[in-house]
């Protein structure tokens, strides 16, 4: 069953110069058709300016399509009467943790969404506790977000979305402002949400290591989808990714270099374990 669906989605905005005169029109998203199924973990990759964030903001009705349409859980995002339903179904986590935490105590922030939805008090408390437990932040519930690390702040943001009981969570470059430990922490939490809670995850990023665990990778360039497939399929095409100003994970790059120097190593190696077993095979063959 599909949870998020876009049909020939296009988004244009008008560029203006300092005096407010129209300079031109930018088509940030161009003819994007995709279908994301319930329970899937989809990563959207792309260089800065590829349109991936603009696309993400359509998926919970922050932006509306210029052309085409977006359906969330079968509801058209242009239908204003369904707006709050859509935002509840598809929760969104943004890049800068400081600019999305409203409460000054962790638990109050997590409760913000359910409060807006009109959830009864007793249930809000249950939801807050449950969300914080899932995301492993329960011990921090009484703390001020200012005192938390970047990774912890992002987990609070995720808990805040989780408390709205969404079917799908969209994360718009949630790790771009974090250090490596924080990045790992957030990705681990997101992966667990997908595997244990069966929540659909749409992860927007430009860190290659983060998408290895995804079910599907969509690569965007100049507002269009240019590649789509399993991580293995996508990372097999190193030359194409380089052209799109993207990297590949280091292990994949190493395997690629070995292959280039004539060793018979298959394309699309993603993990250390895969690479080592391939090299061991070669050694035995010798």
């Amino acid at each position: 069953m599909s949870i998020v669906e876009t049909k020939k989605l296009a988004y244009e905005y008008i560029r203006r110069d300092a005096e407010g005169n129209v300079e031109g029109i930018t088509r940030a998203v161009d003819d994007v058709t995709m279908n994301i199924h319930q329970g899937e973990f989809v990563a959207i990759l792309g260089a800065n300016g590829s349109g991936k964030s603009t696309l993400a903001k359509h998926l919970n009705a922050i932006f509306y399509p210029t052309e085409g349409s977006v359906f969330v859980d079968g509801k058209d995002t242009k239908d204003e009467s369904k707006l709050w339903d859509i935002r509840r179904t598809a929760g969104m986590v943004f890049q800068n943790p400081d600019n999305q935490i409203i409460g000054q105590v962790v638990e109050e922030d997590v409760g913000f969404g359910p409060e807006n939805m009109g959830v009864p008090t007793k249930e809000i408390w249950e939801r807050v506790e449950e969300s914080l437990r899932i995301i492993d932040m329960l011990p921090f519930r009484k703390m001020s977000p200012m005192k938390l690390s970047g990774g912890q702040k992002q987990r609070v943001s995720i808990a805040g979305v989780l408390a709205m009981h969404p079917k799908c969570i969209i994360l718009d470059e949630p790790t771009a402002m974090l250090d490596p430990l924080g990045r790992k922490e957030v990705i681990r939490a997101v992966t667990a949400l997908n595997q244990v809670e069966k929540i659909t995850i749409i992860l927007i990023t430009h860190y290659m290591e983060e998408v290895i665990g995804a079910d599907r990778v969509i690569v965007m360039d100049k507002g269009q989808i240019v590649m789509s497939g399993t991580p293995k399929e996508v990372f097999s095409q190193i030359e194409l990714l380089k052209e799109l100003r993207l990297d590949v994970p280091d292990v994949t790059m190493l395997a690629y270099k070995l292959r280039q120097s004539g060793l018979p190593i298959p394309r699309g190696i993603l993990t250390q374990e895969e690479l080592i077993s391939e090299i061991e095979k070669l050694k035995v063959a010798k």
Partner: protein, 281 residues
């Protein structure tokens, strides 16, 4: 030109229950021609150290000597220091303010009290150096992409003609191409113009590929100060303090564990590829 850090310590909130030793008895000598990677987990004291190096903070004890002079001495001219030791902060948004990029880059040299002609010449050279396309010179810095803003910010400091350039995570938030451009630029400035560079970074891969010396801080203390290979050989300890070695170091380690003879001190992908080919032939 030499920068000597001598028993430098800085405590915040001294005497309160929230006392933090941001920097604890650090000794360090920065020589001309160094390309240093400064590593440490968030809160390890690296930002504090770089701010002390430019006299933006005052130490609680210890001091720093630049060209033999104590930079915290009351009579020392700190503006002179800042013209020679440049610091680029992590977010370019914290320094860009003029209507266009060119004017913004002029800000630094103008503060040095130069005449208009040399200010503009320096700004032009700096923007050329960072590879800013001519047609963007008169664009508002606020309309530019993340990578271009970063370049404009670096040019703004470069225009002061520093002998030492310190950059606080200059690649954070950039996409792979933007990252490679900035790092390539730093290498060029180091190799061609002989600028000493201190790169504060979280990315072990960036550091392994570019620097010739690594300084590691942990809880305000200096933990390692050595060649990259030697530092990354301690990857187990690095992990304990929230850092790591480059990914390929782990691959090499696992290969050795399964009986494939590869050297221990490999830190870049190219080295790793060559070592594996050698081990298999």
């Amino acid at each position: 030109m030499q920068l000597i850090v001598d028993h430098l310590s800085l405590q915040y909130n001294k005497g309160l229950s929230t006392e933090v030793k941001a920097l604890d008895d650090v000794n360090l000598v920065i020589n001309e021609g160094d390309f240093i990677g400064l590593l440490g987990h968030t809160g390890s004291g690296k930002s504090t150290l770089v701010q002390l190096l430019t006299a933006l903070l005052e130490p609680t004890s210890g001091t720093i000597y630049f060209e033999g002079e104590d930079i915290f001495d009351k009579s020392y001219d700190r503006r002179k220091l800042r013209s020679k030791v440049g610091l680029v902060f992590q977010y370019p948004e914290h320094q860009l303010f003029e209507e266009n990029v060119f004017e913004d880059v002029c800000f630094g040299p103008r503060n040095l009290g130069l005449d208009r002609k040399s200010v503009e010449l320096r700004a032009y050279e700096a923007l050329k150096k960072v590879g800013m396309p001519d047609e963007l010179f008169y664009q508002s810095p606020f309309d530019m992409s993340g990578g271009q803003k970063r370049k404009a910010a670096i040019a703004g400091v470069l225009a002061m003609k520093p002998e030492i350039l310190i950059l606080d995570e200059p690649t954070a938030g950039l996409d792979p191409q933007g990252r490679d451009e900035i790092l390539g630029l730093l290498r060029k400035m180091h190799d061609e113009d002989g600028i000493t560079i201190i790169l504060v970074s979280h990315s072990m891969e960036d550091v392994a590929n570019y620097v010739n010396r690594i300084v590691v801080l942990d809880s305000g203390k200096l933990l390692y100060d050595d060649k990259p290979r030697a530092v990354f050989a301690n990857y187990k300890k690095l992990e304990e303090i929230g850092l790591s070695a480059p990914k390929v170091t782990y691959v090499m380690d696992a290969l050795r564990a399964s009986g494939i003879e590869v050297p221990e001190d490999i830190i870049t992908i190219d080295e790793a590829a060559q070592a594996i080919i050698k081990a298999l032939s």
